[in-house]
Amino acid sequence: MNYFPDEVLEHVFDFLTSHRDRNAVSLVCSLWYRVERFSRQRVFIGNCYAISPEKLITRFPGLKSLTLKGKPHFADFNLVPYDWGGYVQPWIEALAKSRIGLEELRLKRMVVSDDSLELLSRSFANFKTLVLVSCEGFTTDGLAAIAANCRFLRELDLQENEIDDHSGHWLSCFPDSCTSLTSLNFACLKGEINLASLERLVARSPNLRSLRLNRAVPLETLQKILMRAPLLVDLGTGSYVHDPDSETYNKLKTTILKCKSIRNLSGFLEVAPRCLPAIFPICLNLTSLNLSYAAGIHGSELIKLIRHCAKLQRLWILDCIGDKGLEVVASTCNELQELRVFPSDPFGVGHDAVTENGLVAISIGCPKLHSLLYFCQQMTNAALITVARNCPNFIRFRLCILDPTRPDPVTMKPLDDGFGAIVQSCKLLRRLSLSGLLTDQVFLYIGMYAEQLEMLSVAFAGDSDKGMLYVLNGCKKLRKLEIRDCPFGNMALLSDVGKYETMRSLWMSSCEVTLWGCKTLAKVMPRLNVEIINEHDQMEICAEDGQRVEKMYLYRTLVGPRKDAPEFVWNL
């Protein structure tokens, strides 16, 4: 390969689309490193504190598309204080100053300010795609800047962000000359929207294929929009409420019949179930259905709807569907690959909650299932063993029993054997979340069998340090480990310190790790940032080393301790 000119190498590398492949290629020799870095356009950074924007820009001058993740995963569940960090501003500033022609920016769990969005919108003439997932810190004013200044904007995709709604006028900031939109998702906005602006925007966006509306968009507007955009592939309805005997509703029924391209359906943030029949005709074509925010659709109506969806590959649903409803899914949706069942009542008993029976039914009817997120009342070892046998193709298996330390209700035993069966059978498993009563034994199984495991989430499990040791020693491909409320301490933490440089990050909260343990680790491993989150002033600077650490987050990094850490985060 050394006899080929660089252009040929580059052309060959063009066929490598995955980041991992390109990363691997860059390690072969210095020639390949050089060719690869100049030709790389897409970069994925799983931890924004592992590298600096300056180093990124230096290495990849041809960068066009950047993905950044900020806060640790457990920040989603309120375990990380506000102000912890994950600011995108320094990245945008550095990129703006450079000659990088950024076109795409995808952020997850980062703090984004209106100033950042303004700067972003003004700095890159060819900016096309902005995707924000689970971010916070900005308002609709920032969105207005994006709308107004990004002349060739194609995608604006806002998923589950906390956005301060100042007014609906941001939609009107798209200039009349903006006709390039292919994807617009503002479902997470809570406020009002200028409906006329929305209709005009859709009317002048002939390439629009994905549109997800927020709660403020009524059914009348939906009908008008669908008239203008019959080629939509992905639709998220806003408010889906009307009188089923009205003319508007009848118009909607007719309009929907023309929308033969819709494959993804979501929304129904407000819904009148009697209006659901209008969408039955397009259900047969659906490959993806997300009703996880449709609290207004109850069990029997859900079931009626699902019976029409024979081609579903992805289904996100609330547990009010019940075990019976899951049986219907199992018999109807034989192509199902991904299932997520969310709790409709996260704090209560959940009378409609699903149990192991629903999951077993699914495993029988949906052999192609590879991704599961399942919130349930209870689970048994027998069920898990059955599921493992029926569905050996799991890549992601996340089980959340609402009472996190509940044993098998039939045998009253821990769920070690059940999860053991899962890891033994599913040889391609990359992501696993455990719950229920679990001893060290489950970790022994995981260490022994989960050879492809990359991410493990553990809560209220295990008996001793051995549990954590089994995982650290056994799972060679482990990248992210997050643990809360387990009896793992310094011995486990310090047993294989080199392991953490092969991983992206480790989170441990409410475990037995002490300040001494964390300090020791930090001293021995300079290329790890070992951060303690200290919220309640329990620890002074001269705290005793023997004191237990409430929250520890460590990650490998090439740029040392971060300079934007707030007071309550100590880098050891």
């Binding site: 589950e160 925010y293 996260p346 209560g348 919130f375 330390t405 989430s457 409320d485």
Partner: protein, 226 residues
């Protein structure tokens, strides 16, 4: 037989929700509420059972300072019968994204007027799971009102001047109704606003078949006296 406070309500116990757990309170951190059902986990040092946290879920414009004045007794009385479904709430469990949790919450803020008070208040009815808890909320929100036991009835009174207040509400049809007749959930759905009416204004209602504080097919005779 006098209708009990909320504890026999089949309907209010149906969900077993102890929504009081989600109320904003001014308790000190770590203070354990007496009415939390704790499930012990064997084996681990710091089990799930020992982790209690107050859920400062959302702010509201309602003063939620709950000292236990009027409510303790009631809570303790309801405790015995409440099914063990009221779970202690642990931070971050179940692991549902904050955005999703907030989106699934329903709010039902209604105005509350008290005869003679200079301004109105607002209450989120979704915070409560029974008429009992609503009564408690009135007690706490309006400092002049206290829940008093009178002939086995719980009544709202201004102890300073002995005036009794009768809770009424405006329903979807615009009619003013006596609170307590229909199942709790039905009430929450149909209630548009609340008015605590001086019972003296109810003169002329005469012999009233009064179902107090519960959806119980049981009759109590109440006469309003000046």
């Amino acid at each position: 037989m006098s209708p009990e406070n909320g504890k026999h309500l089949p309907e209010s116990d149906a969900t077993g929700l102890n929504l009081k757990e989600t109320e904003l309170t001014l308790r000190l951190p770590g203070e354990i509420r007496g009415d939390i059902e704790i499930k012990a986990k064997s084996g681990t040092k710091r089990g799930f059972s020992q982790i209690i946290d107050l859920n400062h879920d959302r702010s509201s414009d309602v003063d939620h300072e709950h000292d236990d004045r009027g409510c303790d007794k009631l809570e303790n009385e309801t405790l015995a019968i409440k099914p063990p479904a009221a779970k202690a709430q642990v931070v971050g469990w179940p692991p549902v994204r904050g955005f999703r949790k907030n989106a699934m919450k329903s709010f039902k803020f209604v105005k509350v007027a008290v005869d003679g008070a200079p301004f109105l208040r607002k209450l989120d009815l979704e915070l409560y799971s029974s008429y009992q808890e609503l009564l408690c909320a009135f007690d706490n929100m309006f400092s002049c009102l206290t829940i008093c036991n009178y002939l086995n009835e719980k009544k709202l009174m201004d102890t300073a001047n002995g005036v009794e207040y009768v809770p009424t509400y405006e329903d979807k049809d615009g009619d003013w109704m006596l609170v307590g007749d229909v199942p709790w959930k039905m009430f929450v759905e149909s209630c548009k606003r609340l008015r605590l009416m001086k019972s003296s204004e109810a003169i002329g209602l005469g012999n009233l078949l009064f179902r107090a504080w519960g959806y119980i097919p049981c009759l109590i005779y109440m006469s309003f006296t000046i």
